[in-house]
């Protein structure tokens, strides 16, 4: 599925009448089956963009279109082809691992036996077999992350929207989760929009890195990442990786400085 954003603009009503422009003139084609990383300073509207793509927020202006490259004229309803993995996971704390994963199927009216069978398979595939009847509160951060991933994957939607999913994990768990995600995405041919503010992560995972500017969020540059797959952390020391990293770092550096200035101004103005 292609995700085509045209001239998106998102304005939030701010305190004291000063509106916040989260996104501005955002146009990009997220091509089918590609892993796109959105990289930018905090507050640049990356999460907003994901929610617009997922049909959970309406843009102030501009359009977002989901289209099957096989029949591009047929626009698909927003939200039907995508599923979100949230930064704070948003697992249902009263549901067991299995029931969390089965939630989407349950809402769709899939019979209990079938949704349990499918959810159990997914729970197993993310390495949580044996933990089906645990509550999220009983699991470690990495395990909860896997539940959130399984809950999204079980719906078999072609587009995966990921909002800094690994930000809260410790360094070792993060590396393992990144590798597993890359493997799953490759195997299931997902189109991925992955928000992060870690340059290394963006380059390691992405087919392209969309660098965004500080508020209002616009596209600053799109960097194609041609590193061979499967990728691993050892690539960080290669010349190609280093060149990409340096380039992205310089772009991001300016924006982070700009973002910090904005925050300082907002604080001193308040």
């Amino acid at each position: 599925m292609d995700v085509v954003a045209e001239n998106l603009r998102q304005v939030w009503p701010g305190r004291g009448g000063a509106d916040i422009v989260a996104l501005e003139q955002f146009s990009h084609r997220f091509a089918s089956r590609r892993f796109s990383c959105l990289l930018g300073p905090s507050g640049c509207g990356k999460s907003t963009l994901l929610q617009i793509v997922g049909g959970l927020e309406k843009p102030t202006s501009g359009t977002i279109r989901i289209a099957d490259p096989a029949s591009p004229s047929l626009a698909r309803p927003l939200g039907a082809d995508s599923v979100m993995v949230w930064q704070n996971l948003n697992l249902f704390p009263w549901r067991t691992v299995l029931d969390n994963v089965a939630f989407g199927l349950e809402m769709r009216g899939v019979p209990k036996a079938e949704r349990q069978r499918r959810s159990r398979a997914l729970v197993g595939s993310v390495g949580l077999a044996g933990f089906e009847h645990f509550l999220p509160g009983q699991l470690s951060g990495g395990m909860r992350q896997r539940v959130a991933l399984a809950r999204a994957l079980v719906l078999e939607r072609p587009i995966l929207l990921m909002d800094e999913p690994f930000a809260a994990l410790d360094a070792q768990t993060k590396i393992i989760m990144q590798e597993e995600l890359a493997y799953i995405v490759e195997r299931t041919h997902k189109t991925v929009l992955f928000v992060t503010h870690a340059i290394e992560e963006a380059i390691l995972l992405g087919d392209e890195v969309v660098v965004m500017s500080a508020r209002p969020g616009r596209i600053k540059e799109v960097l194609p990442v041609d590193l061979p797959r499967p990728r691993s952390l050892e690539m960080v020391n290669t010349k190609a990786f280093g060149a990409l990293f340096d380039h992205a770092f310089h772009l991001i550096r300016e924006e982070v400085m700009a973002s910090m200035k904005q925050q300082e101004r907002a604080l001193s103005g308040a």
Partner: protein, 258 residues
């Protein structure tokens, strides 16, 4: 080393019980040594004797049973009505708008002040005791339920929507389960005030011929101080048991909130 540690642990476990025993022993000795009349302060030993007599002649079982029935009757009515209205208020802005001024106006009113009115309307029978306790317990329950529903994490609701839940499904499958800890907190408060109000209603002059409040009042009027103390002991123990039972139910129904 380990033997010493075990001895220490046993000592630590036994300490609270030892303090209680020491307290009653001191009380007993103090009363006897000073020769204080039982009308003012009876020694624990004679309170125990009275308690045993009340158990033996069955008066405790009957009066405690009647009081507990009234408590659970009032609590059941308040719980059902309070949770129902709280959920409705949380789900419908219209219901919340209409109900809010009533709750805001009536909640701070001390419900005991309604006793004269209820006695006029309902007489001194069961209806009055159950209504006064239900009315009092209703407010904390409805307020806590409403707050719980309103404060459900938006993120969970959005996640459910993203996973394909309809508005109705979000309400039933996310909002209500997420509010259960708050609903239970309201029920705890409600149970507390129900106990207070039922006992108080039973104590009001001549309105009762049974119940723990009635026993207390009667014993007080004829200066049977031993019996007053025995009643208080029973009420304290029953109160503690009710709280324990509620906690146990909480853990069974909503283990994630602990």
């Amino acid at each position: 080393m380990t033997a010493a540690r075990t001895a220490l642990e046993i000592g630590e476990r036994a300490l609270p019980a030892l303090v209680v025993a020491a307290f009653f022993a001191a009380w007993e000795i103090f009363v006897r040594a000073r020769g204080i009349p039982a009308i003012y302060l009876p020694p624990p030993s004679s309170i125990a004797v009275y308690l045993w007599r009340m158990i033996a002649d069955g008066s405790l079982a009957i009066n405690l049973g009647v009081t507990l029935l009234r408590i659970f009757g009032g609590f059941a009515i308040a719980g059902l009505a309070g949770v129902a209205l709280g959920v409705l208020m949380g789900m419908s802005r219209l219901v919340a708008r209409v109900a809010d001024p009533w709750i805001a106006a009536l909640y701070p009113l001390p419900k005991i002040a309604l006793i004269p009115l209820l006695l006029i309307w309902l007489g001194t029978g069961e209806a009055y005791k159950i209504v006064i306790s239900a009315v009092t317990a209703f407010f904390p329950i409805v307020i806590s339920t409403y707050a719980g529903i309103r404060e459900v994490d938006r993120g969970l609701m959005k996640a459910a929507e993203d996973l394909g839940a309809s508005r109705r499904q979000v309400q039933l499958k996310v909002v209500i389960p997420a509010a259960i800890p708050s609903i239970f907190a309201g029920l705890h408060l409600g149970m507390g005030v129900t106990i207070i109000l039922v006992i108080a209603a039973e104590m009001i002059g001549g309105s009762s011929t049974s119940g723990m409040g009635y026993l207390l009042m009667q014993a007080g009027q004829v200066m049977e101080t031993e019996k007053v103390f025995a009643d208080l002991v029973v009420l304290a123990v029953v109160g503690a048991l009710v709280v324990k039972l509620q906690r146990w139910i909480d853990r069974k129904v909503a283990p994630w909130s602990h």
